[in-house]
């Protein structure tokens, strides 16, 4: 018998998932171009000599720890919040659409519930990487045409007055690797809640984690690992990156195992019966 390979299922998800989300992806590009354009122009107006990574920090850096005082007001870092909230909106609904709206065809053809889950996991990872890539491209377009074309990582150390001992690997980990892995961990959490419970609840949980993480700087609130300005590189009592990896990997592995176990016993009824 010709057994279905997870790779074939993954390729199906790539084709189908991109088709399903093409309008959302276009909106994401417009949003990135807008943020990048505003950031680059603001820096130009301030007449500060900056470069690619400073623009990046302005958009995705988030905010330092919020300390509640009598005079302080809590404000979400808008571009950071929209970037991640929109990402979870982008990836949160395709698995459910595929499971219920399109007649459960791919699930039955997959011949295995675990393969279906695994394929969706790889699709989520691909979409997250793709999202970061299109953000980078949109920012680069703005930098190339109107901004400072400096892309050296050392600009971060100079501009923010960080310790010169900081190695470029540490910068890459805090700017790219940790946020991407944390994004995947939160996306897996959202995915499992979506298929077992409800897609709206899954998305709401992601947004709540983002908001609560901005308010409280705690190691177990994993949204903090998405905030570059709270990393150990920027703050002496900042987030420890290896703890972030441990939390993230723990969540990914635990949620995938839990998801597979619960999904094995899940009744697939019609979407109208489901919601």
């Amino acid at each position: 018998m010709n057994s279905v390979k997870t790779l074939d299922l993954y390729l199906f998800d790539i084709k189908n998932g991109f088709r399903e989300n093409k309008i959302k992806i276009v909106i994401a590009c417009v949003m990135f171009l807008f943020f990048a354009n505003v950031t680059v122009k603001q820096c130009m107006l301030c007449q500060v000599e900056v470069g690619f990574w400073i623009y990046w920090t302005n958009i995705l850096g988030g905010m330092p720890e919020y300390i509640k005082t009598e005079t302080s007001t809590f404000e979400l870092p808008v571009s950071w919040f929209l970037f991640y909230a929109y990402l979870y909106f982008l990836i949160g609904f395709y698995p459910i659409t595929d499971l219920y709206n399109n007649g459960s065809h791919s699930l039955i053809l997959s011949e295995s519930r675990n393969k279906w889950m695994l394929s969706k996991f790889f699709w989520i990872v691909t979409m997250i990487l793709f999202y970061f890539i299109i953000f980078t491209i949109c920012l680069m377009i703005n930098v190339f045409f109107i901004g400072e074309k400096d892309i050296a990582l050392s600009q971060i150390i100079t501009f923010y007055g960080l310790s010169p001992c900081i190695h470029s690997t540490e910068i890459i980990i805090n700017y790219l690797v940790l946020p991407i892995i944390t994004t995947i961990a939160m996306a897996v959490l959202q995915f499992v809640i979506s298929i077992i419970w409800n897609a709206i609840y899954g998305y709401m949980l992601s947004v709540i984690i983002l908001v609560v993480s901005v308010y409280w700087m705690k190691p177990f609130l994993i949204g903090n690992y998405l905030i570059v300005l709270r990393s150990g590189m920027f703050a002496t009592n900042g987030m420890i990156s290896y703890m972030g990896f441990v939390f993230d990997m723990g969540i990914i592995i635990f949620m995938m195992i839990l998801g597979c176990l619960l999904f094995r016993k899940k009744d697939i009824l019609k979407i109208r019966e489901k919601i």
Binding site: M1, N2, V4, D8, L9, L11, F12, K15, N16, R19, N101, N102, G103, S104, H105, S106, L107, I108, L109, S110, E111, S112, R113, N114, R264, K265, K266, D267, I268, L269, K270
Partner: protein
């Protein structure tokens, strides 16, 4: 293929939708299920297709327990209630995309023509009439020459030509050794096509006497 259903019971929200179902189904036969709306026909088909998990009892397919040894029956073709496809794709593109999962390269054009759809029709699925959607659902179910074919109300929305074509397809598939499970509102069609007929009421399944079926066939 042999499917053995042993003491299958399913309860959803404290309502028993399948109650102690026992039956043995073999290749090369058409099994019909007749009953009122909500009697449990679709629930049984969902359970056999692996979409519904049993509260108690089991379904054994060729010696493998469904939901334990296997998630879904191997080489299954299925159409449950209203077929659902991608709105912005043509019928051909929808089937091509789904066929890419198993890489069996079925002759999609031939399958579409077999159910009475034009293979080169450029209309999107959302522009299809109810009957065309139904035909596409049937085409999807049969395109990979399944060993087990599950069709829930496949005659709905089909005109007389469509119904005749479908009956012809089902009899041909049966001759090829396919195990076919079928529900229909039209009692005559079901009696004419089925080798064995089950009457369904409140989740209970009762085998209809074979003589009744033979009488029904000879009267046609």
């Amino acid at each position: 293929m042999e499917i053995v259903i042993q003491h299958l019971t399913k309860t959803i929200n404290k309502v028993t939708v399948l109650e102690d179902v026992n039956m043995k189904l073999c290749s090369g036969h058409i099994y019909g299920f007749q009953g009122e709306n909500g009697s449990g026909k679709t629930m049984l088909l969902r359970a056999i297709s692996g979409l519904l998990c049993a509260t108690s009892g089991k379904i054994v397919i060729d010696g493998q327990v469904l939901g334990k040894d296997i998630s879904f029956p191997p080489n299954l073709g299925i159409m449950l209630e209203n077929p659902a496809f991608i709105d912005s794709y043509t019928g051909y593109d929808n089937l091509k995309l789904l066929a890419s999962i198993r890489r069996k390269n079925p002759d999609i054009k031939q399958v579409l023509e077999q159910v009475g759809l034009a293979a080169n029709d450029k209309r999107k699925y959302r522009k299809y009439s109810l009957g065309m959607k139904q035909r596409l659902g049937i085409a999807c179910a049969i395109m990979e020459n399944p060993d087990l074919l599950i069709l829930d109300e496949p005659f709905n929305a089909l005109d007389q030509t469509g119904q005749d074509k479908l009956a012809e397809i089902l009899l041909k598939k049966k001759e090829e050794g396919c195990l076919i499970l079928l529900t229909a509102h039209d009692k005559d069609v079901l009696e004419r096509l089925s080798d064995e007929l089950f009457l369904v009421s409140k989740g209970r399944f009762e085998r209809k006497a074979k003589e009744c079926l033979e009488n029904a066939s000879s009267n046609q």
